[in-house]
């Protein structure tokens, strides 16, 4: 074998070893890093689970309260009508004039079968209405909100927008109220059960 042939053979052998060995080593290292990453994720999840379990009694108590006090309506229309009635009734009492009312349909993400995804359904049924107010006094507005929001009523604000109207401490506002409830006719099966 000539010297040049030996040199060429040596170079090829080195390249072969470098490519195969280096590739193998990189694959092994990447595999190791992937396992480490998975371990970190599992460790975090374990921490969350332990924390959740340690607070389990509190959350169970809260959930029990929700189950006990959540209102029941036969349909969404009934819930929406009741919601609007409460809102307008309190507003009249407070001397607030409601500019606009709009029922908002919850947009559900549909699954491949055309039905809403289970994760998107949530634990409660909801009826939402958007109220628009223009040039209302601040004090009356906040008093109205305070009167409406009572934990037992399951009536919550899910969006609020305030802009000063620029005259005499009055504001323009848009508020979305949501009524959380359970439909009586077809009780919703909780995930927790």
């Amino acid at each position: 074998m000539k010297k040049s042939e030996k040199l060429l053979l040596g170079v090829f052998a080195f390249l072969f070893l470098a490519i195969i060995g280096g590739g193998g080593l990189m694959f092994a290292f990447n595999n190791y890093m992937a396992i480490r990453e998975e371990n970190d994720t599992l460790r975090d999840r374990l921490g969350e689970m332990n924390l959740a379990i340690s607070q389990g009694a509190d959350w169970a108590e809260k959930y029990g309260w929700l189950e006990e006090h959540s209102p029941n309506f036969t349909s969404r229309q009934e819930a929406s009508a009741k919601l609007l009635e409460v809102i307008t009734g309190v507003a009249e009492k407070m001397g607030l004039s409601i500019g606009g009312k709009e029922f908002i349909e919850a947009a559900h993400v549909l699954g491949p079968d055309g039905l809403p995804l289970q994760e998107d359904l949530g634990y409660f049924d909801k009826a939402t209405v958007k109220i628009t107010l223009a040039g209302v006094p601040e004090r009356a507005f906040y008093g109205w909100l305070h009167s409406l929001q009572q934990p037992q009523s399951f009536l919550g604000i899910t969006r609020m927008q305030i802009n000063p109207s620029g005259t005499n401490k009055t504001i323009n506002a848009e508020v979305e109220f949501t009524q959380f409830y359970r439909e009586k006719s077809a009780p919703k099966v909780s995930k927790a059960n």
Partner: protein
């Protein structure tokens, strides 16, 4: 029982017919260890120092009177060789020029030059540490002409005082009239050059040859005696080394270096593989343990998580801490909020959008950081 210590030096030299291995201490007479074949010799394993005595046919061993500075003797010696048509490289390993005596600015030198012949070693795994002329391994008689055999060839060695000044193989294969004529011729040439001193005797280290005839033809007294045992050359007495031995040594060094590098590379790769395998194995063990723990906690935890999610879903209605009034109050808490005039405030459970004016950018930044 005391253990006899083996001599640490080995001398490989051309015997009368075959190569011989001798052992001994530096500067002392050696003991014959083994006889090998005529084609070449090989060194044993045990010797710490190995000396190869090459036959006279591998050397030019010539005397010369050189005139000049002593430090230029080597250059003058090389020129002398060139004048005689002998091509020699200017390396310490190829040519040795030794000053024998000086007189009126001229020096009698012995030029010892290696010929470009392959070194007769049958095994190059063990190479010599030093190479010398075979005749230099013997205590030669002063001012004499000594005749002996090397691997079947007759060799003549001439001394000036106690120093060897000339050594060459003879063309004649037997010590007969032709050989004596050749001897006379050599002496005549050396005499013309003025390098031959006062020869006193001819010493025969061989059994052949008619002493009477030799005395009659040469005019010198001749006598026969046994060839003495060689003396182990002193360390560093010769720097000569044949080129093929140097090349072989370099090649062995390169091979050794390559083997070492390959071994290091192999060790590093093996260590890397072992490290990655160990780390992966440990990580896999930990992963399996964590998976088992997660699996065992999942039923209890998922129930709690469901309760938590249900609460968070209804939080805008049932949890006063997440009501927008509370968030609005929180926006008014920072000291810098007194300077803010808010023009737009929008809130949802997931995000808050706030627009307004502040007297300066630094106050705006301070307010944002406080929020």
């Amino acid at each position: 029982m005391a253990k006899t210590r083996k001599p640490s030096c080995e001398l490989l030299l051309p015997g009368a017919q075959v190569w011989q291995s001798w052992t001994g201490a530096e500067g002392a007479a050696c003991l014959l260890q083994a006889e090998q074949n005529a084609t070449g010799g090989k060194f044993g394993k045990e010797a710490a120092r190995r000396v190869l005595a090459l036959p006279a046919v591998h050397f030019w061993a010539l005397p010369a009177w050189l005139k000049g500075q002593p430090e230029h003797l080597r250059s003058m010696g090389l020129l002398h060789l060139e004048r005689m048509g002998i091509k020699a490289e200017d390396f310490e390993a190829s040519v040795q020029v030794r000053n024998m005596q000086g007189k009126e600015g001229a020096y009698l030198t012995r030029i010892l030059a290696l010929k470009d012949l392959p070194t007769p070693l049958t095994d190059t795994a063990r190479l010599p540490d030093e190479v010398t002329l075979h005749a230099l391994c013997y205590p030669l008689v002063q001012n004499s002409l000594t005749i002996f055999r090397e691997l079947g060839r007759l060799v003549v060695a001439i001394t000036s005082g106690s120093q060897l000044i000339y050594c060459s193989p003879l063309s004649a294969n037997r010590l007969d009239g032709n050989a004596l004529a050749e001897l006379n011729n050599i002496c005549l040439q050396l005499g013309f050059q003025g390098v031959l001193g006062r020869l006193e005797s001819i010493v025969l280290w061989i059994e052949e040859g008619d002493v009477q005839q030799i005395q009659r033809v040469t005019g010198l007294s001749a006598y026969r005696c046994d060839m003495p045992a060689p003396t182990m050359p002193e360390r560093g007495s010769s720097l000569l080394m044949p080129q093929d031995v140097i090349s072989e040594r370099q090649s062995q060094t390169r091979r050794s270096k390559t083997r070492f590098l390959a071994l290091v590379a192999g060790t590093v790769i093996a260590a890397a593989i072992a490290l990655v395998a160990t780390l992966t194995s440990l990580a896999l063990q930990e992963r399996n343990l964590l998976r088992d723990k997660v699996a065992s906690l999942t039923p209890r935890a998922s129930r709690v998580m469901d309760h938590k999610k249900a609460w968070h879903e209804a939080a805008p209605a049932v949890d006063p801490t997440s009501w927008p009034q509370q968030i609005l109050l929180h926006c008014m808490e920072p000291e810098s909020s007194k300077e803010a005039s808010i023009t737009h405030w929008e809130w949802t459970p997931e995000r808050m959008n706030l627009r307004g004016r502040m007297p300066s950018a630094s106050l705006a930044l301070e307010y944002t950081q406080a929020l």
